[in-house]
């Protein structure tokens, strides 16, 4: 405070610098449209790849449906007991099919053990967002998107498995026939191979 004029000038400069800074922020927000906030109900944030919400069943491209075989591994490992699964053996199909798969999201702690333990890797985190509600009723039916195509899938899958079985049977028969045909030559065939070696 030795020189009052100098201290006034320094103070004025500092104040003007501050004004310039806030004006810059205003400019960035209004003109460059770079507000750091999101207009919540209208805008959705870009969710990261590690975003965790309620689990869901994966739709596989080859079959067009999930691959839950109702092995109950996830139900058993779940620390919050929030998964309930029922399954059935379908006539003509090797794997079981799940008939109920409900999950109580209110209990779920998003630990991810069910996803790790799934033998058919048909579970993953969904990207559900903005799921606030007025109650605690968060029972989710994970099979809901798959009910409609289930019958068709079973028909197709049975056909595929029958086809595959028939193919396998044919191949086995052919192999057997070839083996049978090759058997008489076996005595003469062996020395030939030795000669090649």
């Amino acid at each position: 405070m030795a020189n009052p004029v100098k201290s006034l000038a320094v103070g004025a400069k500092a104040l003007l610098t501050g004004l310039g800074m806030t004006f810059g922020e205003m400019w960035r927000t209004v003109v460059k449209k770079k507000a750091v906030t999101l207009q919540y109900p209208h805008e959705k944030p870009k969710l990261s790849g590690a975003y965790r919400s309620a689990i869901k069943l994966i739709r596989f491209e080859e079959t067009g449906t999930h691959d839950c075989v109702a092995c109950l591994a996830c139900e058993q490992i779940c620390p919050s007991f929030c998964i309930k699964i029922d399954g059935e053996k379908v006539e003509g199909m090797k794997k079981q099919r799940a008939t109920t798969f409900t999950m109580d999201f209110a209990l779920c702690s998003l630990c991810g053990l069910c996803i790790d333990v799934c033998p058919t890797t048909t579970l993953e985190y969904s990207k559900l967002y903005d799921e606030a509600g007025y109650g605690r009723d968060w029972k989710m039916d994970l099979l809901d998107p798959y009910r409609e195509g289930e019958e068709q899938f079973r028909v197709e899958q049975r056909a595929r498995e029958a086809e595959a079985a028939a193919e396998k049977a044919r191949a086995a028969a052919a192999a057997k026939a070839a083996k049978a045909a090759a058997a008489p030559d076996k005595a003469t065939g062996a020395p030939e191979k030795e000669g090649e070696a």
Binding site: E25, R28, T29, A35, T37
Partner: protein
Amino acid sequence: MMTPHSAPVTFAELLGQPWLATLLGVGAIMGFLTLNVLFLIWAERKVSGWIQRRMGPTEVGPFGTFQTLADMLKLLSKQLITPAHVDKPLYHLAPLVVFAPVVAAVSLFPFSPGVSISELDLGLVLVFAFAGIGVIGIFMAGWGSNNKYALLGAMRSVAQNVSYEIPLILSALAVVLLASHPEGITLAAGTPEAHTAPLVGTSLAHITLAQEAQGYWFVLVQPVAFVIYFISALAETNRAPFDIPEAESELVAGFHTEYSGMRFALFFFAEYTNMLIVCMVATVLFLGGWDGPILPGAVWFFGKTYALLFAMIWIRWTWPRLRFDQLMRFCWGVLVPIAVLNLLGAAALAQVL
């Protein structure tokens, strides 16, 4: 002092009934002030949002412009709570005492050549007098609330307002000296609008006319006075960085802590209208009032006023609040001496010119 009218067409004469003109004028002022307050609060919230990289209100109406209208309706519909131990007469009277003078003061301004609700040769003096009444209302509110925070806020407000009124008026006086200069009077008398303005340095219309006639705004010859005036105006309106009367981190809300509903709205109304008044005074004194090329006078007048108001809002959201002793030292140790020296300089300048 009344000037001879060359074309005496006032609103009162047009209507034939002075009381009708007064009623209409008050109605117009109230309507304008309500819109102004709604706009200013919206602008304050928008600007503060932008400065903090937010969007401010966006939901109610286009760009959130009806947000303050919704807030006002909410305040109107709220119950008026009177705390148990208040000093009832003071408590009930205070909002009105704060509110009435600001409405009266606005009616004195020349918005455009020949357009004002009430043209007085002592307009500037009256504006400052009305500003002084508001301080009484604030102290009534603080005392009547019977609440330590309210009382502290009111005491701070009174001390601050009384102190800062001195540099405020000293800097305004410098302009009055310039406008009272014989040459300025002669020049102003020669303008076509001269019949609407009394030829006295304290008449707001005359100050504008003098600037128009001389061809420059007084901010160019009195920049120091303008800066002092603007700083003092911030303190007069209890705005940041001088908003210690309602320093929310120390005093809850200061003198209006105990007020709710519409009574609180009246204080709010008065605060924002006070901002408008000091900015209008600054426009008239330093920025040439309605003077400006091409556009109509009212556009220039309000353009300048709202530019100053924007600066006030900008300053509020940039600078931190002063401590009370810093505030007082700044007033008495810096502003008052500079203002006195500046006034002496202006007096010398007026003699030389």
